[in-house]
Symmetry: C2
Subunit: 594 residues, 2 copies
């Protein structure tokens, strides 16, 4: 307990120095004098070191990060106008500077940590699983290929372009490699030393990645606009030739950009969790989890059942790639082929979204029937996941409602009119159901941890019940919940006791000798998760690689005008892409957890 006591006395002292001394008031007089001495010492130490209060450190660093982002956005907006003020070189130079600063901070952090080998930082087991980091590494590799292309491109055109165009990909490649290394070994760290400085470092990293993401999104939007114009000119609407810097780009890059974009946004999410964890006091169970880690994919025993989900998922994946190829080919042909391609896309979407909604609903019903216990331990990573899902749904919901209004008020009626309506409504429904399913899954307790964790559970409930005397404590500081004060001895003692008492439980059926039913339900849930996982990949692939009928169908453009509609799409599509990628990551977590 000494290890826990140390930092926490300081913790108290930082926030409410007056209260440390008064805390001895409610005890009997036996140990009060020594406690008081300790407290006074701690208060003195706090006054001398004068740590900047946590809340202010948070606000200050958040403001720094936001302003960094806004400077970058302002530069990009000026670039988008293609006015005289800002050129692409300015933006790339700005981004390179930020990345170099982040590199410097990461080196500082690692070096300082190496020096204190005897006191490794605490780690938040929930922060970023091995799978997420593995996925990120894959995206980073594809990102590096993009950089290699860019460097090659620069070498070829060396004489006629600015050197910044050569420096940027090199800096980006170095940044990518060191960042992946950093994420593998330090993203779980809970920073407790030099808090204010590290807070700035982490938030700088978060917003640097967010800016690189924004830059990628802007480039993509420009690309999509050019595609749109080219397609319109292909079906004979008007003449169009790509002009300016578009010529110097390699065509192959186009198919790698989406991975680079997703890489940066996922990194900022992970780093944001790290930022939230700065100065946090971890609960026992959050640390425990890493020790009692579950083995790789625990579904080895239930192989035959896990078939329908993956099979249907693979089917959807294959058919979406087919749809993508057909769409891209036909949308540039004649007007009839174009309409047929758009129509095909919508019908395919309706089928896949209907399947997803139904499977999500089945999952929710199973949860309703089962009444599994909820997991309510504080977990910044999970809170962020649910908020991001809800937040990033907004983009495509807005597009959907715009489509509904456009279809309802359309003057002309192309063949895909009502398919568009159905697609829009189903998309809203599907995201609602999927969000509910994911949030519910995230907040359920892990099956195999239930028995192991039953004692912890009992602890929390005995705390709720005022008639029990107990020493377990939950304390709250600045919204961070601190329950690191479980005494480990009592913890172990209780284990057998609580497990035997579990029989008194009514709804908890798995303890009644009926392991079959919940296992089957678990199988169904696993199948649903893997199916949704693959469907989300499919629905990410389609818009990421150029299948964007919202640009091509013309209905919304007639109702909203091209400037408003393209602004809406440029705002909504990146969010929608992020939503799919993030769902993929979270659904994989859900799949492993069930």
């Amino acid at each position: 307990m000494v290890e826990h006591n140390g930092p926490d006395v300081k913790f108290v002292n930082k926030y409410c120095p007056s209260s440390v001394s008064s805390s001895s008031a409610s005890t009997s007089s036996s140990s009060s004098s020594s406690v008081r001495e300790m407290n006074i010492l701690a208060t003195l130490r706090g006054s001398l070191s004068r740590k900047y209060p946590q809340k202010n450190g948070e606000v200050l660093s958040a403001q720094y990060g936001i302003n960094l982002l806004l400077v970058g956005l302002a530069l990009m907006l000026a670039l988008a106008y293609q006015g005289p003020t800002v050129t692409e070189e300015t933006v790339l130079a700005f981004l390179s500077t930020l990345m170099l600063m982040q590199l410097l901070w990461m080196i500082c952090y690692v070096v300082r940590l190496e020096r204190k080998l005897n006191a490794p930082p605490e780690r938040d087991a929930n922060a970023a699983t091995t799978w997420i980091r593995g996925g990120l590494t894959l995206l980073a590799l594809l990102s590096l290929i993009t950089d290699a292309f860019r460097v090659g491109n620069f070498v070829g055109y060396q004489k006629c372009v600015s050197p910044v165009l050569g420096v940027y990909p090199v800096v980006h490649a170095v940044h990518t490699m060191s960042q992946v290394h950093f994420l593998w070994f330090h993203v779980k760290d809970v920073i407790k030393r030099y808090e204010t400085f590290e807070r700035f470092g982490v938030i700088h990293a978060v917003f640097t990645n967010l800016l690189v993401w924004s830059n990628g999104v802007m480039t993509e939007a420009e690309h999509a606009l050019n595609d749109h114009k080219r397609r319109l000119s292909a079906v004979g609407y008007f003449n169009f030739t790509v002009w300016g810097k578009g010529n110097t780009r390699l065509g192959g890059l186009y198919y790698l950009c989406p991975f680079n974009i997703e890489y940066h946004i996922l990194v900022s999410v992970l780093l944001f969790v790290m930022w939230k964890n700065v100065g946090r006091t971890l609960g026992q169970c959050t640390k425990q989890k890493s020790a009692s880690k579950s083995p790789l994919l625990k579904c080895s025993g239930d192989g035959p059942f896990l078939l329908l989900g993956p099979a249907l998922g693979l089917l959807s994946l294959a058919s979406s790639i087919t749809v993508l190829v057909i769409y891209i080919i036909h949308v540039e042909e004649s007007l009839e082929a174009r309409h047929a391609a758009i129509s095909m896309f919508y019908w395919f979407g309706i089928v896949i979204l209907a399947c997803m909604s139904v499977s999500g609903a089945v999952g929710l019903i199973i949860y309703r029937l089962e009444d599994w216990p909820m997991d309510t331990t504080p977990n910044p990573s999970r809170t962020l996941d649910s908020k991001l899902l809800l937040g990033s749904s907004i983009g495509s919901w807005l597009v959907c409602w715009c489509s509904v209004i456009a279809v309802a008020g359309a003057k002309n009626s192309p063949i895909y009119r009502w398919a568009n309506l159905g697609y829009a409504i189903l998309l809203v429904l599907e995201k609602c159901v999927q969000n509910l399913f994911i949030v519910e899954s995230l907040y359920r307790r892990q099956k195999e941890l239930k028995e192991r964790g039953a004692d912890l559970h009992a602890t929390r409930n005995s705390i709720l019940n005022p008639s029990h005397g107990n020493e377990k404590i939950f304390a709250v500081y600045d919204g961070i919940i601190n329950h690191a004060y479980e005494s480990p001895d009592k913890h172990c003692e209780n284990e057998n006791q609580t497990c035997s008492r579990n029989d008194g439980n009514v709804t908890h059926s798995s303890d009644h000798g009926m392991p079959e039913t919940p296992n089957r339900q678990r199988q169904v849930l696993k199948n649903i998760a893997i199916f949704l996982f693959m469907c989300n990949i499919s629905l990410w692939i389609l818009p990421a690689f150029g299948c964007r009928p919202q640009f091509d169908n013309g209905l919304e453009e007639a109702s909203f005008g091209f400037p408003i509609w393209s602004t809406v799409l440029n705002f909504a599509l990146p969010m929608s892409l992020f939503y799919r990628m993030h769902s993929v990551a979270v659904l994989f977590e859900v799949f492993r957890k069930i």
Copy 2:
């Protein structure tokens, strides 16, 4: 304690039915059998009533609200294009329907509450102070005048306009009156019955107000655009006549609209706090506060000191009104007068922002020197306040950084070029400092509550300290912190004890017989708060009534182009106005609290 026990056993049961029975594990066997029976009964009751889990209720209602907003936004975007799909009548009919639905819900809520007179709901003392509600009533009255104008306008033009234009102001007036009534008597309620239904009702009210706000903002933006064009035509750039429905509007309405807009956004903030409070279990101190309420403005004894702040504040208010009038007159005159007016605005802004930054910084330094204790009790209202301040700063920060880039890259150099740069940078700085000051003030413990609240404090600390046996409990469910289990007897007993022990405190200087120093510092802080309060009113008045040099100075337009720049402004200015109004409300709270 029986009163508390009832709902909370249900509370446990709703989330983790299995754990209720196991909660008896850690007690000794003396009372375990009766507790177990009670628990089983509670579990059964829970299974039968099958309440929808809180987390899902939250997500579901949030999704409903967001989609409501997006439908409205989509309609307004279509209206902004002035295409064939959506007319103003459609939008007004949609808004009227939403307001009528909200009316229906409010009636249901009040009637159902009246029936249960014997069990009034708990109340969150922090939710909305009398002052805020008073301010809102004032805004509502001005809003009603707008409605009266509109009805009169409709009667005059009855024959040539749609009846919806007459129905809307009537519905709006009824809605405003009943909503103010509702806010006065029910906004503090903590809803515990029919949670899921009421959650939908409250979120519906939140987003209805947000939509009416968006509608107001859109109308204002259109107005500003017309103003801009009229001014340009006045100084001879091009010919312009206002067309369409603008003609049927009354000129006087223009000066009342800003109040109506602020009314709706403030109402949505208050109702959002009510939504966050649904199903929450209040801490003892949150309830207590309302009982031991402080008297009206407690600064009666320290009158002479409270002079500099209000005096300077009034000066800034008066001069800003002068600047407003001069600006509006001169900006439509010759090109030189226009440039002089813009220049004057920027220099005035630089002076006032510099004063605000300095006073905010002084306040922060006082806090650093004083080391007052932090107040860390859970308080959704306060959390929301700080998040909203930070969030709504983003708008004007973006405008500022755009200005910086525009000034840096400008090709021509009008007289206000560098003043614009200084203004932009100072604005960023001022908002940073003010946010820090407000957040720090909000999280400080109230001076006069310190002694009274010391026992509560002690309680919290004895909980932190694992060596103390105690019956106080903090428990966490779904992120909601439950510490309603203080035994009131012990509470009173401790009071004297803790106050006498306070002497052991080192940094807490007011207990050492030096009441003079902190009082003087308190005076300085009070002056700062009132000065910032009035400055924020000044800075709200200027853009709200048409002093928007960002439209008129032409620098940013040259760098970003009119479409991008007007989009940025239409997004940022409403946020900036909300920021000022919200700061005013929060600074008044801060002033009362210090």
